[in-house]
């Protein structure tokens, strides 16, 4: 039975061997040494302007959080939508309560100004 997995095993072995080969090859062939120029960030051949570790505005984070909430909402709504009929009105009411609670959160965020980019 396990034999049917043999191709997968061979595939795995080849890819691992290939990966190791590539890494070894590049370390052997490449001219060594880390110079200051080499480790500088690449900006189309220009001298880099400012640091590369730039701070992101916290706004991106707010948007990500908002996204997570409604993303996870879908996880619950999708199974409910698929079995809408067998679940009946009780299921419908539960889902509406769920959405209502999320809406309260949305109203809060809106009023708090978390949805405005500027």
């Amino acid at each position: 039975m396990l034999r049917s997995y043999l191709p997968a095993l061979i595939m795995l072995a080849i890819s691992v061997a290939n990966a190791i080969f590539m890494v070894v090859l590049s370390t052997v062939l490449s001219p060594g040494g880390r110079t200051k120029v080499k480790s500088a960030p690449y900006e189309s051949g220009m001298d880099p302007l400012g640091g590369t570790r730039e701070r992101f505005s916290v706004k991106f984070y707010m948007v990500a959080i908002l996204f997570i909430v409604f993303d996870v909402e879908t996880v619950f709504l999708l199974p409910w939508a698929v079995s809408l009929r067998p679940l009946g009105w009780e299921g419908f009411a539960s889902a509406m309560i769920f959405i209502f609670i999320l809406t309260v959160g949305l109203v809060y965020e809106w009023k708090k100004g978390a949805l405005e980019w500027d």
């Binding site: 039975m1 997570i68 993303d71 996870v72």
Partner: protein, 103 residues
């Protein structure tokens, strides 16, 4: 067919290994974000166990996974905000640097 070719408890072993990796990561690593990722790994190991058990133990196991995902998302939102707040004070997320609260 797969169930016959795999060892009987393969999923359980895999989830136990994932869980152990998560626990070991929390013990060893010092970066708060990586610690948090290891905790997520623990939760997902539990998810895998739930799904693996559900054919024998009941289909509700798969439903629990949804709840755990939702809980993990809430935890991530709050946890990352906390890490952000700490980073503003300390400019680091290395937990060895946090020593204000010692006696």
């Amino acid at each position: 067919m797969i169930a016959q070719t795999l060892p009987a408890n393969a999923g359980l072993y895999l989830s136990a290994i994932l869980f152990a990796i998560g626990v070991a990561g929390v013990m060893i690593r010092r970066n708060a974000i990586i610690l948090f990722m290891c905790i997520e790994l623990m939760l997902n190991a539990a998810n895998l166990a739930f799904v693996w058990f559900s054919p024998f133990a009941g289909v509700q196991g798969q439903v629990f996974v949804f709840f755990v995902i939702a809980v993990a998302a809430a935890e991530a939102a709050v946890g990352l905000a906390i890490i952000l707040a700490v980073f503003r004070h300390k400019e680091t997320v290395n937990i060895n640097e946090f020593s204000l609260l010692r006696f």
